[in-house]
């Protein structure tokens, strides 16, 4: 098994996602970056699932878990996009730096 490649790919994807979340000003892009992070996790889940159950191919718990994550991610992005939409409606901008009303 070549686990390393998968883990490496997941790590790269994760880092790109983190970068996107931290550096992007566009709300939609931030949401997309979150998707990248989640997918990096999914890759890890599937890779470890296949690695641990290499002798028992009927066991697909890793893959199933990844499916759950995708479902939750879809819901999350739905909520997130709704938020972005509302922010846009209120401020005619989706720059999340403008949304700093929590400033102390």
């Amino acid at each position: 098994m070549f686990l390393n490649q998968f883990l490496l790919l997941a790590a790269i994807l994760f880092c790109i996602g983190v970068y996107g979340v931290l550096a992007r000003k566009n709300g939609v892009l931030v949401l997309m970056s979150i998707e990248l992070i989640l997918n990096a996790v999914n890759i890890n889940l599937v890779a470890f699932g296949a690695y641990w159950h290499v002798n028992d191919l009927a066991n697909v718990s890793g893959q199933v878990f990844a499916l759950f994550v995708i479902a939750v991610a879809a819901a999350e992005v739905g909520v997130g996009l709704a938020l972005v939409l509302l922010i846009y409606r209120n401020r005619q901008s989706i720059n999340i730096d403008d949304v700093d009303m929590l400033k102390g």
Partner: protein, 726 residues
């Protein structure tokens, strides 16, 4: 037969429940239900009391013997086994020689001891001392139970009409129930502490009922006077209870224990004398003895049925009952068996006369009866004082009925005459109120002591007791008694003729009272006729009834256990004749003077001495003036000045000093503790948190991505720790 004698506590408890029910639900359920509850409870109590009396008669006829008796005596005394042993030996000896008498004649076995039935529970323990609550049933208690229940029942019934439409009808019935409960509790008490409680409870009820119509100031004044006068005596009672308790070894308040100690022969008679005199202080106030009798006539401000129940038949005899109950203490304390003269007998005799004299100058029918009650209570106390225990208690018993009859009769008259008791506005009522008149006449004759009514027998026994007495005759008491026999007949004749004969002088339209009122009167009058025969003498002018019909009252009521050896005066023919002649003479004189208007009328305006005497009587021997004017007045003035001085100088000084000191201390406390320490702490913590806040608000940028960066940085640090450190 149902054995109630062990469970006799149910009787007062029932009345207490009735009190609570009436108190809480009476207003809601209406007057009919209220009266119904009261009447039903008293009826049940009466039935149970009759059962108790039956049990007691059964016990006297079939007394416990041998070991059963010894066990009962130990239980009755609540004594420790060691002392109990000597007693049971004594009693075994007593039962042995009485065994023969039991076999031959079950009625004549008066030598044997029938201990009262005592049932106690521990109330509380303190300092190794056990305080008990319990019931003591003997003939005396059973007699009192029946007396209280009968009169209470009749008064309950009577009041439904007498107090119809009263604003505080339920309040009245609640108090009646409470009074009955307290009185039953009192007569069933097994120890003096409990008696004290019952004594105070009946006092409270008396207070509440005298002041029943408190809208009028004179009624509240009367209630207060009754209460305060009784307090004076009650101090004596409390002291007496304490003294007798310590005199008898300080181990038990048990009545039997006290009596046994007093009669044991090695008793400290000086201490007992002091104790008995202190107890007599309580008797003096509660039973209206001279000089604390002044509250009783004023107590007539209460509703008439209350006067009949409380201030004639039951509560006022509580004092007489106390002497009868603790007779051992009084007997050896006052040396009743061996002295010719002592305080209790004298006060009793003196009270009979002063009460009788005062009754002549009253125009208020109820006050005549009140002074008559004082006089008769004096009779009872005198009888107990001269050692004629049975005579005194028997008079208590008969007097309760005919005096209640007189009071209820007076109430019936007043009910017809627009609620006035003024005899000057009555007269000629015998045609208009035939039933009231007949019952009043019977009760009057019974009180005057006319053969064969109840009063004749009991009064005669007292006179015989004073004449034959104990070893020495109490001649002076006999003279007191004979004078009173005349006075009683005369003032009752006066009241009777003024009320029922002559022409009607009032402005109302009197009519006979309804049956609710007359039936109790008839029952009481019937009692006044027959009850005297309960103690029919052994030989009446040579006429002898079978032994099982004579002196039944003495046989069943007189204690035979822990009781002093008193002599029983036989029926004395010449005394009976003399007292009857005196009574008839009294009635005759009253008839001539008040009805026929013969004799020296207008004497008071002609003779200075007679006038002075009349004024003296009218002012009630100036006792009230003495109490309120001299004693209270002379103490309140200086007392007030002294109080003022101490107020100005001592108390104000202390208060001001404390105030100034407090102000100075407060100044220091304010400057140092408050301003520096506490404010410093408060301000410091405030400033500290403000500074911290100022620092921390810098990181609170509101920029989500900055937060996320910190989050990730934190995650990286944690991951680094996880990998490299752990």
């Amino acid at each position: 037969m149902l054995n109630m004698i062990d469970k006799v506590w149910i009787i007062p408890a029932l009345m207490a429940v009735s009190f609570l029910v009436i108190l809480f639900f009476g207003k809601r359920w209406g007057t009919k239900v209220t009266a119904g509850i009261g009447i039903a409870s008293v009826s049940i109590c009466l039935i149970l009391s009759v059962v108790v009396a039956g049990n007691w008669i059964n016990r006297v006829n079939n007394p416990p013997t041998g070991t059963a008796l010894a066990a009962e005596i130990v239980q009755a005394n609540g004594l420790t086994p060691q002392t109990g042993q000597t007693i049971s030996e004594e009693v075994n000896a007593a039962t042995k020689d009485s065994g023969e008498t039991v076999a031959t004649d079950s009625y004549g076995a008066s030598d044997e001891s029938v201990p009262p039935v005592v049932r106690t529970v521990t109330w509380f323990q303190i300092g190794g001392l056990q305080f008990e609550m319990g019931t003591l049933v003997d003939g005396l208690a059973a007699m009192m139970l029946i007396t209280v229940c009968i009169i209470s029942l009749l008064v309950h019934i009577y009041s439904t009409e007498y107090l119809r439409g009263d604003v505080r009808f339920t309040h009245y019935y609640a108090f009646l129930s409470l009074f009955t409960a307290s009185m039953l509790f009192y007569v069933l008490s097994s120890n003096t502490l409990q008696m004290l409680m019952g004594w105070e409870l009946v006092g409270v009820c008396s207070f509440g009922l005298i002041g029943h119509w408190w809208e009028e100031k004179k009624n509240t004044d009367a209630a207060l006077k009754a209460f305060l006068t009784n307090r004076v005596g009650d101090i004596g009672l409390i002291l007496g209870v304490i003294i007798t308790f310590f005199a008898a070894g300080g181990s038990s308040f048990n009545v039997l224990h006290l009596n046994e100690y007093a009669l044991s022969g090695n008793a400290n008679t000086t201490l007992l004398l002091v104790g008995a005199l202190c107890l007599f202080g309580g008797v003096t106030s509660k039973s209206g003895q001279f000089p604390l009798h002044t509250w009783l006539p004023d107590a007539m401000a209460g509703p008439t049925p209350v006067s009949a129940l409380i201030h004639a038949a039951t509560m006022v005899v509580a004092g007489v009952y106390l002497i009868a109950r603790l007779y051992g203490v009084f007997f050896s304390g006052l040396a009743i068996g061996s002295s010719t003269f002592h305080y209790v007998a004298f006060i009793g005799g003196f009270t009979t006369i002063i009460g009788g004299l005062l009754a002549f100058v009253q125009t208020d029918l109820k006050k005549v009866l009140a002074y008559s009650t004082i006089s008769q209570l004096g009779y009872m106390v005198m009888a107990l004082g001269v050692g004629a225990w049975t005579a005194g208690v028997f008079h208590l018993f008969t007097h309760a009925f005919f005096k209640a009859c007189l009071f209820l009769g007076a109430g019936s008259v007043a009910h017809a005459c627009h609620h006035t008791f003024d005899m000057r506005e009555m007269g000629g009522l015998r045609k208009k109120m035939p039933v009231t008149h007949a019952t009043f006449l019977i009760a009057t004759l019974a009180l005057a002591g006319i053969f064969p009514l109840a009063g004749f027998w009991s009064k005669d026994e007292i006179l015989a007791g004073s004449a034959n007495g104990q070893e020495n005759a109490y001649t002076i008491m006999l003279i007191f008694g004979l004078i009173t026999a005349f006075l009683t007949a005369a003032y009752m004749g006066r009241a009777y003729w003024m009320t029922f004969w002559g022409k009607y002088r009032g402005h109302a339209h009197p009519h006979e009272s309804p049956r609710v009122i007359t039936v109790p009167l008839i029952i009481l009058a019937g009692c006044a006729v027959v009850l005297g025969f309960t103690n029919f003498p052994k030989s009446f002018f040579g006429f002898k009834l079978p032994g099982s019909f004579t002196t039944r009252f003495e046989h069943f009521v007189e204690p035979t256990f822990a009781f002093p050896p008193i002599a029983h005066a036989p029926f004395t023919p010449w005394l009976a004749i003399a007292s009857t002649i005196l009574a008839a003479g009294g009635l005759f004189v009253a008839y001539q003077y008040y009805e026929k208007n013969r004799g020296p009328h207008g004497l008071t305006s002609r003779s200075k001495i007679a006038h002075a005497g009349y004024t003296f009587l009218e002012n009630k021997y100036y006792l009230d003036n003495l109490y309120t004017g001299v004693i209270a007045g002379s103490t309140t003035g200086p007392l007030a000045r002294a109080a003022n001085w101490s107020n100005q100088n001592i108390i104000d000084g202390a208060v001001n000093g404390i105030g100034n000191g407090a102000r100075k201390i407060a100044g220091v406390v304010y400057a140092v503790a408050d301003q520096i320490i506490i404010d410093g702490a408060v301000n410091g913590s405030g400033q500290g948190s403000e500074g911290a806040g100022q620092l921390l608000r810098k990181i609170q940028t509101g920029k989500v991505q900055q937060y996320a960066s910190i989050l990730f940085a934190g995650a990286v640090v944690l991951a680094g720790v996880l990998v490299f450190v752990v």
